[in-house]
């Protein structure tokens, strides 16, 4: 049943086992309600995924990790009455953590970057996800959260708050839709209002003005304000002919006179007024003095072109809406990088450098044969390696072998 193990699989298994032996850090301590979790494992050079493993005590898990030295270790976000059972019905679902998983794949523009730069970018977006959405909008406190570096190219946010555990899949979907701005309806937030008129006497006509949420509105309101300001600034910055083109494209038969009026409106936009103005009823709202055509243009293009990409958070939708996900075990090693899955405080994240702070191995020189040209940058060691023999620090050797770029000599 077992596949033939290659030299690098044996080597890595030994190093991983050694790491687990040397690190008595009780990784299971971060996993609450330990006995109700299902564990899952993948092994170096083996294709099968070992699932439905329940661990009666943390000691069993530690021994398993040392003996079997898995390449990847996971635990269920869900709690089960019987984690060993093979089907969901028999397992007996007892709730699940609410999970946000942010990976370089979800962050636009990250694909083009090198590994180190990707990690930085993902970290920024993760901080925004946690601080703006999870803590500010959803109101979860830091003590309700478990934040981890995934060991690969991303971060996980686990919400452990008791009330969130019973959420079903549809409810979790609503939560992730909130983060990604899916289904956002602009007219739930902004509306045209007749605040001014044009003309005199019997020629007086209403000219629309748009009332929008103020810049300090909670939830999506404030984000919409920001997006509108940016959008209008971009429109305003276009050269006059381009501006005309945009408006003409969106409105057939617009007269030159009207175009001039709209141009003037755009030029006279007052950013402070857009940010927010105190109304007589005590509320604070943003006012955008633009003709109805620009309002309609915003309505049409804002959500798709500007608003959502600018303001939304990113996260993996299927992960959050799944009520029974397997997720990386904190303290375990990631089999594609050799880095550790690290638990972090919010304050630590800003200064966190995975390539230094998530390193599990040392500087012992190891002779390897590089089979694919590779760039490696870990634990302070940086090199561009061509095909052929090389001697590199242990941490780099592990990373290269995990990536499949090198084999031991």
């Amino acid at each position: 049943m077992q596949d033939e193990l290659r030299p690098q699989d044996v080597w890595l298994s030994e190093r991983f086992a050694d790491y687990y032996r040397r690190n008595p850090t009780p990784m299971p301590a971060v996993v609450e309600r330990f006995r109700e979790r299902e564990f899952g494992f993948l092994f170096h050079g083996q294709k099968f995924f070992l699932r439905h493993v329940g661990m009666p005590t943390p000691r069993e898990l530690r021994q398993f990790m040392i003996q079997r030295a898995p390449a990847h270790a996971y635990y269920s976000t869900a709690f089960y009455q019987d984690p060993n059972a093979k089907t969901m019905v028999e397992k007996g679902w007892r709730g699940a953590e609410l999970i946000f998983d942010l990976d370089a794949d979800h962050v636009p523009g990250a694909e083009k970057l090198g590994y180190r730069a990707q990690l930085e970018k993902v970290k920024d977006h993760f901080l925004r996800l946690v601080e703006d959405f999870v803590m500010r909008d959803f109101g979860f406190a830091e003590k309700d959260l478990l934040l981890t570096f995934s060991g690969g190219r991303g971060y996980h946010c686990h919400v452990l708050h008791g009330r969130a555990l019973g959420l079903n899949s549809a409810e979790r979907r609503e939560i992730v839709d909130f983060v990604t701005g899916t289904g956002l309806q602009l007219n739930a937030f902004i509306r045209p209002m007749t605040l001014r008129t044009k003309g005199f006497g019997r020629f007086q006509k209403a000219d629309n003005t748009v009332v929008i949420p103020a810049d300090d509105e909670p939830g999506w309101g404030g984000r919409i304000n920001e997006a509108i300001r940016l959008h209008l600034a971009a429109l305003k910055a276009l050269p006059a002919e381009k501006k005309d083109d945009v408006l003409r494209m969106n409105f057939n038969g617009i007269t030159k006179a009207r175009l001039l009026t709209l141009q003037k409106d755009l030029d006279h936009l007052d950013e402070d007024r857009i940010r927010g103005v105190r109304f007589p009823d005590g509320t604070r709202r943003g006012i955008v003095d633009v003709g109805v055509e620009i309002y309609k243009y915003m309505e049409r293009t804002l959500t798709f072109d500007t608003l959502v990409p600018l303001a939304k958070g990113e996260t993996d939708e299927p992960v959050t809406s799944d009520v029974k996900r397997l997720i990386r075990l904190p303290g375990s090693l990631h089999g594609k990088s050799g880095l550790r899955v690290v638990t972090l405080d919010l304050d630590d994240i800003r200064g966190f450098d995975p390539l230094a702070d998530a390193v599990a191995f040392g500087t012992e020189p190891i002779r390897i044969r590089v089979e694919k040209p590779a760039n490696v940058d870990v634990a302070g060691f940086q090199a561009d390696l061509p095909v052929g023999e090389a001697t590199v620090p242990e941490a780099a050797a592990v990373m290269l072998m995990c990536r499949g770029a090198a084999v031991p000599i």
């Binding site: 089907t87 969901m88 959803f138 839709d177 289904g183 509105e217 999506w220």
Partner: protein, 363 residues
């Protein structure tokens, strides 16, 4: 709360306590001539749930009238327990909750809205701004928010530090939903009452049964007698496809599709016949289970089909294959009915492709 108010909202815990405190016994309510009007109103409640206009709102001016209205509620529940029909239960939950909406909407006193909402499991908190009526923690909001309308999506709400701001109309709508969910759960679990209920309503029960059957016939007519696989929701298509491919479908999946077919009007023999389209299907092994699930043997319980939420909890719902109809319903049977309406009428001859291929293509 005075009895007039309790009469309007008989499902709040205070109402139950009032009935107990007054010493009313269910046995007397059923038998005593003095409670004739209570029994009549109870029947009206149940009947109303099958009518287009729902349950008629009656104004209770005097204390006596209020007591009639209040007491008719537990008696109506007895009728439902006796009739023991999931379809009726569902309709009743909808009708009572719509009546609740009407009544709450017309309340002059905001505090009544607060009290009823909180009593029904919508834990409102004071609004933090002048514009809103109340705030609700977003997790409670999610539990009761109606699913279909995009304006109810969490992303379109004013959410601050975990709380959603609501106007009064929305609070009323959430309370309506909370009552509907609660009634569906509670009434489904009511035990079959003893003979006294049947004895107390010798005429009315058969009448209600007939009306229910007529309703059902209309419902069954939607399925044109013949079950149409093209209208199956993605979950059922996936299960059916798996059964034909002899993939090991988890118990909940097999259970779900049997109850689904049964609710569409198939009895256990028809279900078995449906399944025997699958080559090498072991009829004998499955006969016992199918007959049990459809209530033919073993206690007579006809199990209801799991709703979407349950299907997702058990991992049966193929989340990535959901379509727009999926997002407009919360129960596979409703998907089927909706989808059926959009299909052309069934062709008289059997389809050219074998059902397995059809389901695989469509799924």
């Amino acid at each position: 709360m005075d009895v007039q108010l309790l009469a309007r909202y008989p499902y709040v815990p205070l109402a139950r306590e009032y009935v107990k405190a007054q010493g009313y016994q269910l046995g007397d309510l059923l038998v005593d001539a003095a409670f004739e009007r209570v029994r009549r109103r109870a029947v009206q409640r149940v009947k109303g749930s099958m009518e287009r206009d729902g349950i008629a709102d009656v104004a209770a001016a005097t204390e006596a009238e209020s007591e009639v209205e209040l007491l008719s509620y537990p008696v109506a529940r007895l009728l439902l327990a006796e009739l023991h029909d999931p379809y009726l239960t569902s309709r009743y939950a909808v009708a009572e909750s719509k009546l609740l909406n009407e009544r709450l909407s017309s309340e002059q006193d905001d505090r009544v809205v607060w009290t009823v909402a909180t009593a029904l499991g919508v834990p409102l908190e004071a609004a933090s701004d002048t514009e809103s009526f109340a705030r609700l923690h977003f997790l409670d909001f999610l539990r009761h928010a109606p699913g279909r309308d995009p304006s109810w999506k969490l992303v379109n709400q004013r959410l601050s530090a975990g709380f959603v701001s609501l106007d009064r109309a929305r609070v009323v709508r959430l309370t309506e939903q909370a009552l509907k969910d609660r009634l569906e759960d509670e009434v489904a679990e009511l035990e079959r009452p003893g003979r006294e209920v049947a004895k107390a309503f010798p005429k009315e029960l058969p009448e209600l049964t007939t009306i229910l059957a007529a309703h059902r016939a209309r419902f069954a007519q939607d399925t044109s007698g013949e079950v149409r696989i093209e209208a199956f929701p993605p979950c059922m298509k996936a299960i059916w496809g798996g059964i034909q491919a002899h993939v090991n479908i988890p118990h909940m999946g097999r259970f779900a599709i049997v109850t689904f077919l049964h609710k569409l009007g198939m009895d256990s023999e028809a279900v078995l016949k449906f399944f025997s389209q699958v080559p090498d299907f072991d009829v004998n092994k499955s006969r016992y289970q199918i007959e049990h699930i459809t209530g033919k043997i073993g206690g007579g319980t006809e199990y209801s089909t799991p709703g979407c939420s349950t299907m997702q909890t058990y991992g049966i719902c193929p989340l990535e294959q959901r379509d727009e109809v999926c997002f407009s319903i919360t129960h596979p049977l409703n998907y089927y009915r909706k989808r059926l309406r959009t299909l052309p009428p069934a062709k008289p001859s059997p389809p050219a492709t074998p059902p397995a291929q059809e389901a695989a293509n469509a799924g």
